[in-house]
């Protein structure tokens, strides 16, 4: 089962970035690695199944509402989906909420690479955070836009990293 592909499609729906843009960051595999280390396999599987079934559903409701109904307001899947969004935007894994951990969390076996505590996923992940292009700039400390660019009108193309999809 190719979870990476499912992960990109779900992430695309949650972030409104195209799959090709998400793949372009080069950190999707790392995020999935974090996710599948910390979140129990059956829950992840349920999340991906759920999104797959939404895609084929023939509903008159907008897709956004279907995602809210089936995933975001679900006690088990919602917090996982929100963590996926935060990871893409901010490159940080946030500890799962207390009540979720009590109800659904399982202690990691052995000594895995990632623990369910707050951490920056990696140096490269910080640089690839979606928030920077969403706000019309570049990650602070990386992808330097060049001398004097801060003087340009913010909508000038070329002075900022384009968000055009």
């Amino acid at each position: 089962m190719d979870w990476l592909d499912e992960f990109y499609h779900l992430s695309s729906a949650l972030t409104d970035y195209k799959v090709v843009q998400l793949k372009g960051t080069g950190v999707g595999e790392e995020y999935l690695d974090v996710l599948s280390t910390i979140i129990p396999q059956d829950i992840l599987s349920e999340l991906f199944d759920c999104y797959r079934s939404l895609k084929v559903q023939n509903s008159s409701k907008p897709k956004e509402q279907l995602i809210r109904d089936a995933i975001l307001c679900d006690a088990k899947l919602g917090p996982v989906a929100r963590n996926i969004i935060k990871m893409w935007y901010l490159s940080i894994w946030y500890q799962m909420p207390d009540d979720w951990r009590q109800q659904f969390g399982k202690p990691n076996q052995g000594s895995p690479k990632y623990q369910d505590v707050q951490f920056v996923v990696s140096r490269n992940a910080y640089i690839q955070g979606l928030v920077w292009e969403a706000l019309g700039s570049h990650p602070m400390g990386a992808k330097q836009p060049g001398y004097g660019t801060w003087s340009d009108k913010p909508t000038d193309k070329g002075s900022v990293i384009s968000t055009a999809s």
Binding site: T15, D16, L90, Q118, F119, V120, W132, Y147, G148
Partner: protein, 613 residues
């Protein structure tokens, strides 16, 4: 060991003032030793070696920065228990009679001292913003002029030539015909520059926000005590590489000089410029070593100055040398210097003198600790101004730095911040989770919200003057020590009504500007903020500016000051103190440029003194 290394000059501290001293004296053939308490990265930009022989370069600080959760000013510089440093995350409100001890500082209050510094080779210039303002002529004698604070034993004209030296060697980008403030209709702030003088590089381009604000505030005035003052947006002089004038060549990164020839807009001056386009003291340390007369020993913490009872000279500097920051294993060593220079930072200089019982016949060592209590106001501009781009600040409003109101309340300089709400709210990293968890946004809505709101974020910083107060002080207490057994600074600190009145006036100016520009205000001061104070029933919050001033002030009288106008200890003929600790008042300029100018002067004094030794 029978022999003790002997040098012409022993300098404690490898920050900017120690580096300037070492470079100036080394260049004139003096044998110089610099002792640095913290670690360093040598002259390497890139890390080298394999897993077992890895030698960290400056780039290793970037790794630490990128993966740090809290991107605070000291985030890139690893925690070193043998040379601990204060962190802004240590701050909390202080309960009366219960010192705050969770960080390096022992804070006795009543208010927390909010500023920090870096204990590593290069010092706090590793994370400074680079602002290089000169002091106003009136700032040197506010006691005479306004009946407040203290007069300096020197004046602006004494220091002017040293300002020029400092501006050249730091590499400051600015235009003299703007920085003399002659365009500002407030004679109190105007600064005389020598005819024909200009900075080594042209001014750094002002941000789109600066220009938007300058346009919106054109012609605006405010009234204080019946007098009218202008509100003028002016580009800020910066120790950051821009377009060179004439034959000047910018100094690039240490270890990879092709980098950092020009600011490239990394928007990360604090906590670390990735390419060293912003000046840091590593550049001056490298120049010092090129003289072949300067040796730098890192991981050597000076802890005692021994005094010759006959001559009153400092005869030896004792230090603890460690090889692993995480182990307290160390060896005690001593060195001699014909001249000893303390350049360890305002707090550390005071601490070392108090620990050694030297230089304190005036009882002023450690006293008169000052900062710029920095009050922020923030909001959303009606249209995108391109937040989170460029150097942290490229302009300010300096037109209220001086005036008769200083008889009644503190002056302030307004800094215009280019990084949205990163300081007041931790945006975007600290604020986006709320959009997802509480505002329940995802997908297009989330993306559109960020795109429409964040580019409109802006903040002011009001750097409010603080007067010298002997009760704001650094002391030591045998009960509080670090891992090596060295003293931790114990700090008593308060913010007087004079400064609080300045904060109130600043808030008033901010409110008027917000009205004029149609800014949607989001400023909030909470009683739970560590720096929360009240004045006439209103609450305000200050933050630390990182401008630690005072602690060994210069003066004309040995009974009321620690050093004379030559920056030599009144008590010990071969002991010089340098750094912001020498400054008797802080006024409204970020202190580094003035401190650097003073240090060039002090280096000249030391050189002349050595001729007679």
């Amino acid at each position: 060991m029978n022999t003790v290394d002997e040098f012409d000059v022993v300098i404690v501290g490898a920050g900017i003032s120690g580096a300037i001293m070492a470079e100036q004296l080394g260049a004139k053939g003096k044998r110089v030793l610099v002792l640095e308490a913290g670690s360093g990265t040598g002259d390497r930009f890139w890390s080298s070696g394999g897993a077992n022989s890895k030698r960290d370069g400056y780039e290793s600080y970037m790794d630490t920065f990128f993966t740090a959760l809290a991107k605070i000013p000291n985030a890139p510089y690893p925690d070193n228990p043998n040379a601990p440093q204060p962190l802004v995350t240590d701050l909390e409100p202080i309960t009366p009679n219960q010192p705050l001890t969770n960080g390096y500082f022992v804070q006795k209050g009543p208010l927390p001292f909010a500023s920090t510094y870096t204990r590593a080779e290069g010092g706090t210039t590793l994370h400074w913003l680079g602002t290089c303002l000169r002091m106003l002529p009136e700032d040197f004698h506010i006691k005479t002029e306004f009946g407040r604070g203290l007069d300096w034993p020197i004046n602006y004209h004494d220091l002017e030539k040293w300002y020029q030296v400092a501006e050249k060697n730091i590499g400051v980008s600015a235009n003299a015909d703007e920085q003399n403030y002659h365009q500002i209709d407030n004679p109190s702030v105007q600064i005389p520059y020598q005819d024909g003088y200009d900075y080594p590089m042209e001014k750094i381009p002002q941000s789109y926000l600066d220009r938007h604000m300058a346009k919106g505030l054109q012609g605006m005035t405010v009234n204080f005590d019946g007098k009218t003052y202008p509100i003028d947006v002016v580009s800020t002089p910066q120790g950051r590489n821009g377009m060179p004038r004439g034959s000047y060549r910018p100094v690039g990164a240490v270890g990879d000089p092709d980098l950092g020839q020009r600011c490239a807009g990394n928007s990360n001056c604090v906590p670390i410029c990735p390419i060293q386009a912003k000046y840091n003291a590593l550049k001056t340390l490298m120049q010092a070593q090129k003289t072949h007369h300067v040796e730098i020993r890192t991981q050597c913490v000076a802890y005692d100055l021994e005094v010759d009872p006959v001559t009153n000279h400092i005869s030896k500097v004792h230090y603890k040398q460690y090889s692993d920051p995480n182990s307290s294993d160390h060896v005690c060593k001593a060195v001699r210097g014909k001249v000893v220079v303390l350049a360890a930072h305002a707090v550390e200089n005071a601490k070392l003198m108090l620990a050694s019982g030297v230089g304190n016949s005036s009882d002023q060592v450690g006293r008169n600790l000052m900062d710029h209590p920095t009050m922020l106001t923030w909001g959303l501009m009606p249209s995108p101004i391109g937040a989170f781009r460029g150097p942290g600040s490229t302009s300010g409003i300096p037109s209220l730095r001086g005036g008769d109101f200083r008889k009644n309340r503190a002056a302030f300089r307004i800094e215009i911040g280019n990084w949205g709400w990163s300081w007041p709210e931790g945006a975007p990293i600290g604020t986006v989770p709320d959009l997802i968890d509480q505002k329940n946004l995802f997908g297009k809505q989330l993306k559109d919200t960020i795109a429409s709101v964040y580019p409109r974020m802006f903040r002011f910083g009001f750097l409010v003057e603080q007067l010298p107060d002997p009760n704001n002080r650094v002391t030591i207490d045998p009960n509080y020590r670090d891992q090596l057994g060295n003293y931790r600074p114990v700090i008593d600190y308060d913010v007087s009504d004079y400064s609080r009145a300045g904060m109130a006036a600043a808030k008033h100016v901010s409110d008027m500007i917000f009205q004029r520009l149609g800014v949607e205000g989001y400023t909030e001061y909470n009683p739970s903020d560590p720096g929360y104070v009240t004045y006439q029933g209103q609450g305000y919050t200050y933050n630390g500016a990182g401008h630690l001033v005072g602690t060994h002030i210069m003066g004309a009288d040995s009974k009321t000051s620690v050093v004379n106008r030559e920056q030599r200890s009144w008590d010990h003929p071969n002991l010089y103190l340098v750094g912001c600790g020498n400054m008797p008042t802080i006024s409204t300029s970020n202190p580094t440029l003035t401190m650097a100018a003073l240090t060039y002067w002090a280096a000249d004094n030391v050189y002349k003194a050595l001729a007679d030794m």
